[in-house]
């Protein structure tokens, strides 16, 4: 696993300072969405090989949620963004 994460607020930090909070790809459906949609959002996860996006919580640093894009084959970290910034960017693109 990637051992160094470059936090946008704190700089280069070891992975021990973080807690992985799960897949950042699923988008929360509307409250009145069908049970099937909610079931997919809550329970069904892909297990892709290659580039993945995850939420990482910088527990013992700045305590911010980050979106880490990394490759689970080569262990390369491609990008690290604050989850707020990533969320806003997603809204602009109309993803969220």
């Amino acid at each position: 696993m990637a051992s160094l994460i470059t936090c946008p607020h704190c700089g280069v930090r070891p992975k021990e300072e973080f807690s992985i909070r799960g897949d950042a790809v699923p988008v929360r459906p509307a409250p009145n969405a069908s049970d099937e949609t909610w079931n997919r959002y809550v329970f069904v996860r892909d297990n892709p090989k290659g580039v993945i996006r995850e939420y990482w919580h910088h527990v013992s640093g700045c305590r911010r949620y980050l979106v880490v894009e990394r490759d689970n084959v080569s262990h390369a970290v491609l990008s690290v963004t604050d989850a707020t910034v990533a969320g806003r960017a997603g809204q602009k693109e109309g993803v969220r």
């Binding site: 700089g11 930090r13 070891p14 021990e16 300072e17 013992s60 640093g61 700045c62 911010r64």
Partner: protein, 181 residues
């Protein structure tokens, strides 16, 4: 009935025995520092940062976006709170009793800290005046560089004993001494 409370430092039991002369490598524990958390309200981060930089006799430690620790050895918590609450767009809370401040110094201080801190402490990366939250001996604390060969550590009070003992262990090869200062 009035109860009077005696202030007792949490590391009092860890620093016992006769007083030793400080060695070149020394860990000094502040008896009663004033430590205040400052939070900036939404979109006020830059203004608060500017106002904090103007304060005199107060050392500002960054903890992450919109959050700082203000440390003072001279003013009382009340006086510092009054000063900080006057800054528009900020909130300040006294943490003096909940945090422990330690200063570690010596020519090989970086080699001592390298055993319990996961970041690069070279002066090019972590310059004098730099600070940040990080794991210090597996405890989430704040580390600040106060000089080329001296660092200041702020840890939660309940973990101070562990961190103190760990630091002493790490500093044994350099004959690290510890005392209240």
């Amino acid at each position: 009935m009035t109860i009077s409370f005696a202030h007792r430092h949490v590391l009092e039991d860890h620093i016992i025995g006769f007083e030793m002369k400080p060695n070149a490598h020394h860990l000094s524990v502040s008896r009663r520092p004033t430590i205040v958390t400052v939070l900036a309200h939404a979109e006020a981060e830059e203004d608060v940062q500017l106002a904090l930089d103007l304060l005199e006799d107060v050392s500002i430690r960054s903890c992450g976006p919109c959050e700082w620790l203000a440390v003072s050895q001279s003013s009382s918590p009340e006086a510092l709170l009054r000063l900080l609450r006057a800054i528009p767009g900020s909130s300040a809370f006294d943490q003096s009793d909940g945090r422990v401040l330690m200063q570690i110094s010596g020519p090989d201080v970086r080699r001592i800290l390298a055993k319990c801190v996961g970041i690069d402490l070279h002066a090019d990366v972590f310059a004098v005046g730099a600070s940040g939250n990080m794991l210090i001996a597996h405890v989430a604390g704040n580390l600040a560089r106060s000089g080329p060969d001296s660092f200041e550590i702020i840890v939660p009070r309940s973990y101070a004993g562990t961190v103190f003992e760990e630091l002493k262990e790490m500093g044994r090869e350099f004959a690290l001494t510890a005392a209240f200062g």
